[in-house]
Symmetry: D2
Subunit: 346 residues, 4 copies
């Protein structure tokens, strides 16, 4: 059994990690780390675990945790993992960081977008960006995984085949994304109160959202050139789910079949990416509770653009599920172990 | 592997049966019966099953189905199962009826509340009411299971220990229940449109809801006398979940400990009933997606009453999950097989 | 023009007061009092008022406010109004208190349920409970109005005719109430986050909710005897609305017509109480945004009980609308002035 | 008093027309036309009008209606108004058509996108597109108003100043729109059931939505050249509201001030268009229940694009409110008459 420790176990991503790892046949959570609920029973914070998890929350001592676990998940705000990480920890345990600390290779760029001086840039090169569908081989041998952001996961996977195959003009990419409210975390903020979110939709972080450089980096790697995009996230009155609607101009005339083939090239063997049938578009409800990414596209002959769409459960494939997928790779398990939950409808 | 056929596979309960049986280690669905979607792929109706279920929907031919399956689930409106059932079918396959046809032993009472002449009253005596926590032994040997209604499951389990132990006055029982909208089914009715249900709450079936006699029967068996209740269901703007708030006068002065002990007497060993800790009350979200029933109570010294509360996921423990629990018992499997999903939050 | 000041203008009830008073033909808000947003523009806190209200928030100085306004609304947590009120203020301005401070005549009872020592019990006798439909005449001449709580408004009006006419047994009254989340206020609490409330229903304050004694007092006045009830509120995933489902045993056999006549006796001339037609039950959406109270009842011959139902918009008739209705009475205006908004659907 | 008749009074737009016209000081509804509810009381269909509207629904006889009313609103699916309209009707009553029949001047284009042969192309030239902010003068003298679609209203007003002033490249415009579910109407369709819409987001009509040519026409008039766009609508789990997020490349380097000035040029005197302050973006909740359009923009120096945002209540400014605004203009009333409802929060 893989022993897992979670820093930030009482956030929404932490809760989902506990759900997935508790149901995982070859892993178990042995350290429920928390800042706010130390010494309280985990099941008192998340009553869904009543009679399932008996443990109490412990502190966030990463060094001590590294001695007792095989893998550490950090599901905390940016800055924390990077401030705690060190060679000693990495020599004892694998680290899967769900924050943004090691996603952007350029420390200066990180600092510009996040407003934080990176506390441990020396680990940036070693860290592997844990988008399994693209970086599978590098992940297997890694010690430190930068678990991708929710929007970047969905955006990159929706666009990747077309930018990689050179079918779209990178400078024309526009990503309009919509997320359920669990992405905003469990912190007590007026903006996230039920009465503020319900019966409302808003854009936020217009032109400034921190996932922009992360998406740009991944698209740039695929394009082989620097890519700048517009990315606009929106807050939706639902708990879970991200839908990405992306637009780009085609480089040249192309057919449905050719674009379809591009998606098949990259995703035909992927266990979690489902390329939907023609004219069937992703909806978040069809992936809820699962690690699936549903993608599809539509060509517009009138405007010579392609619309690319993707849907994920932000808490699963956008956070905890992808983290477990990375764990499976790190420990040589079949990649889908413990991750074959069927989407729950309605 | 147990071969299962589902009549009504394209309703919400049918969808959940497919989800649970597809994840069940010892069962498989081999017949997806439907009235409206014959010859269409099941995954075209329920896109969550894309790339998971390849089968097409078949018709609702129960006789033919009985020859090909070990167990038949009927997840259809009342009247259908009772009109199709016959000795020949029951001699070939077990039948678990999710409709109300065989829940009420008295055909005349069925006809009064449902406005239907019972098509096959000769099977009423044989049918076993599939509330596993209470009728476990009878279920094991049955051929025909009347899978309990969603409200009756939650109501009965919340009240059972107190009425069985004679702590409450049966004639004073009032049950005020609240249900998510999946309980209303997937039929296209104006009343169930998003804009009608959202930002609204209403009572329905006031004093006339058809689950009333079913609850009364179960409470009567427990009380050893005829029980009449008030039962008022309400429609809540959420997908899943039932919360029951039940009231009754205490027969005599009693203590928290004594009432607690009554719950423990009946539920201490139950895998799916969780008696919450003192002053922690059930919330539907803590059971979502799972087969758990969370119950608790509160004594009111001022009014000499007890408030009994219960929460279930109406689609799981209130329908498909309980049906699978019954299947497990019928086929000699551990009762929790395929049913240990952890509640999904948020 | 009546000059109005609001203490607590930046809560949800405060916002609604501003909406109603801004649209009121004979009143205007001249003081937007706030604790958290002093010196910020009101329309920066509530952007719905952009280009409609230009004023900045002021502090909560009730004494100073009394010199500049004709009427003071206190839409604040309990304890504040009672700690600030004094003879001098009341000699200068009418005070309509939306908190619970002056609703319960017995200071000891207030202290037991609210856990606060009443800061100014000397005003309890003078204060008039502002349920206009019942206390209209006393309100006209008052200086200090205790604006009723949301649950007590809806509960009392649903039950009043039957208890007043002696048709029901007071000791059997059980009130099961359901409220939208705006009733929980705008404070940043984890429990009221979107992801905690959405897709969930829970009971709270079981047997201990503070509106219990307020309802009991009103029902006791009507019954002419002390009434103890069970009152259980529930939190519903919607913004606005309260639905009350109340139960009581009939004192004697009675007919639909007799009960109907009781409602007509008290409400035939009421502008805001709508007694629905037979077998049509209140739904919160039919009163949203309006000052209406929809009520109806159903007799149950089987159990000899009556089910009484009521629906209000908790922010309007349950708070700000009723406060304006009281203001109209205090200043000799037609009671419906500025309050004839038609319910908004969907 | 202006006498108004409504064809399609029992849809959501019809209900809102009744709400607005009932509260309008100089208009009254004298004909509640309906196809499905003839001879039923209007308040039985929409219980919010109980005790407010006593009339029964009549049929949809437009000719007869024209003899009894001053203005006819057609709030019906496309095709109906165009099939009934004739010179005689127009000689007797003004017609405000809320369907798409007269919005697109080119009958062939209408037929391509709507799949209907236009039944009365002879009135296309006469019809005035009722976007009051742009076509105010033409509206005043018209007999037949094509009331704009919900998405086109919000999209056009968000983009208009920049395309009119030549600041953006028309061929780069991409409009990503999100709508509450009332826009889907009150027809009983499985896709619009609560459980299908709630906890879900989807795009629909990708590259093919019928509002595309309508928006393109309006932008083309403003640009003085033919404009083709990408337009993608999304269905959001909320009742009311449309949010538009539009993207375009700037023709040249420009400053915040210059763009701001463009908006001010066109909207400074507009009673219903609110240009928000810098970096404050539209949210649908701030306009709910009102006729306001909130717009704003953000320049992105990195990509040389501008993001333009707009929010409306689709039932008010996107349908019934705009229709009443047109009526006010047609009858020489102040444009805001009966339309100054303050947005309702929460």
């Amino acid at each position: 059994m893989i022993k897992a420790g979670i820093i930030g176990a009482t956030g929404y991503a932490g809760n989902e990690l506990v759900r997935l790892l508790t149901g995982h046949p070859q892993a178990e959570v042995v350290w429920y780390g928390s800042k706010s609920y130390i010494d309280q029973r985990y099941a008192d914070v998340y009553q869904n675990f009543f009679r399932i998890v008996d443990a109490k929350c412990l502190d966030d001592n990463m060094e001590k945790m590294a001695e007792e676990v095989d893998v550490i998940f950090t599901a905390t705000p940016q800055g924390l993992c990077a401030s705690l990480i060190c060679e000693e920890i990495l020599s004892k345990a694998k680290v899967i960081d769900l924050s943004a600390d090691f996603r952007i290779k350029d420390a200066k760029r990180y600092e510009e977008w996040y407003g934080l001086v990176h506390p441990s840039p020396e680990f940036l090169e070693e860290a592997v960006y844990g988008l399994c569908e693209i970086n599978r081989e590098d992940i297997r041998g890694a010690r430190l995984i930068a678990n991708p952001g929710c929007y970047p996961t969905c955006s990159t996977l929706a666009i990747y085949p077309l930018i990689k195959e050179g079918l779209i003009e990178p400078s024309t990419i526009i990503i309009d994304a919509k997320s359920g409210t669990s992405g905003a975390g469990r912190g007590a903020k007026t903006d996230n109160l039920f009465c503020e979110v319900n019966e409302n939709i808003k854009a936020y972080g217009v032109t400034t959202h921190r996932h922009t450089p992360e998406i740009e980096d991944q698209l740039s790697y695929a394009a082989g050139e620097e890519v700048l995009i517009n990315f606009t996230p929106h807050l939706i009155p639902m708990n879970r789910g991200i839908l990405v609607t992306a637009y780009a101009s085609l480089k040249r005339e192309t057919s449905y079949e050719e674009v379809r083939a591009a998606y098949e090239t990259y995703y035909a063997g992927e266990p979690f990416v489902r390329v939907l049938e023609k004219d069937v578009f992703p909806q978040t409800k069809w992936v809820t509770g699962s690690n699936y990414v549903d993608v599809n596209f539509k060509l517009d002959d009138r405007t010579k653009r392609v619309v690319m769409l993707g849907a994920i459960d932000n808490v699963v494939k956008g956070a905890a599920g992808q983290a477990v997928q990375n764990m499976n790779l790190l420990f040589g398990l079949p990649e889908t172990t413990g991750l074959l939950q069927i989407p729950m409808v309605p």
